[in-house]
Symmetry: C2
Subunit: 211 residues, 2 copies
């Protein structure tokens, strides 16, 4: 794990088009420093195998591994963190049984305030409509409200791509999380690199801005 | 948890007809000393809530609680044990991350030998055809082969009811596990009590047998 949590581009694996490992490796090669392994269907045996292979890849690239939902799989693969949604294990219980980074999906300021004590970051969204699991769209305004209400770093999620990533970053989020934009791309490494370039250029511009 | 593991009648909850808690409470009232919470569909949040309620019930009756598959839920509800199938988290990994009773589903002597080092008991089956998850039938002979091949206590599972429970016990198993026979009964408490009576009468008869 990197000594400091870099949430700027947070890549979530999906097994629709590419294998989880393929998405993870492509993202890591591109320079992504945080990967979330998200698998909802496979038996735990498969999850542990896949998560352990991605653990090794993240180690090679000195990057952070987060496991979605399954705290036991996170423990079994020695993940740096676990990410839970509102229907997953409650964050206060996760904090009792898991020693590591805890991410929490939130849609509202209220959900964020409730989880604030135990969360190391929030995933806020969906920012935009999306084909993957998130459905309720909270928009840029919804994300901004959460960012302004909490001191916990916020990662925006949901329908983020090259076209809209810069306006998302203007909400003040610590980073953006993507599923389809990388995991469904013809070339996941290229897609991740392009997103990273956009984000890094924006950060450089900010540095050049007069105070 | 009871000081000694009593596997004689092992009741697995199901939420088809009755709620998990209802099945557990009925079985405990009847005198069952080991309950397995098995839930495959619900979100983890619901699982933890249900498992914690059953934990309280098992405490009241000084009985053992086992959670199926989800090691994280087992930890979160302070279960005495976890039960894993061949597609769940591998038993050697469960043993690394979980401190408690470990049960393993086996269909063959080979599977039993492989898991023997870490398993506190085996669930062997299906003995008979069944409507619930188990499909491949190994028969009384299959159960007997496993019992004879290992020193780990074996619980037979799959299609066991009042009519066949005594012939199952003749294979030398430590007990029988039931899903439908209790969880699908009109009166789960009565069904559990009748099974327990049959098992206890057999044990008494054994004591009366000349050496």
């Amino acid at each position: 794990m990197s000594s400091m949590l870099n949430l700027s581009l947070y890549v979530i694996t999906g097994n629709r088009r590419w294998k989880h490992e393929e998405v993870a490796e492509a993202a890591l090669k591109a320079g992504v420093e945080i990967i979330q392994y998200r698998e909802k269907e496979a038996p735990a045996k498969i999850m542990v195998e896949e998560a352990r292979r991605i653990r090794k890849l993240c180690d090679e690239y000195d990057s952070t591994l987060i496991v979605n939902d399954r705290v036991d799989v996170a423990i079994a693969c020695n993940a740096d963190g676990v990410h839970v949604g509102q229907e997953d294990m409650p964050v206060e219980i996760v904090a009792e049984i898991f020693d590591g980074i805890i991410g929490v999906s939130v849609k509202t300021v209220e959900q964020a305030k409730r989880a604030e004590r135990h969360a190391d970051y929030f995933g806020a969204g969906s920012v935009f409509p999306t084909g993957t699991k998130e459905t309720e769209v909270i928009g840029l305004e919804g994300v901004k409200r959460i960012v302004e209400a909490t001191s916990v770093p916020v990662v925006a999620i949901g329908g983020i791509n090259r076209e809209n990533v810069l306006e998302v970053l203007e909400t003040g989020v610590a980073g953006v999380a993507v599923v389809s934009a990388v995991a469904m791309a013809d070339d996941p490494e290229k897609a991740a690199r392009e997103l990273l370039d956009l984000i890094e250029n924006l950060e450089k511009e900010k540095v050049r801005e007069p105070l």
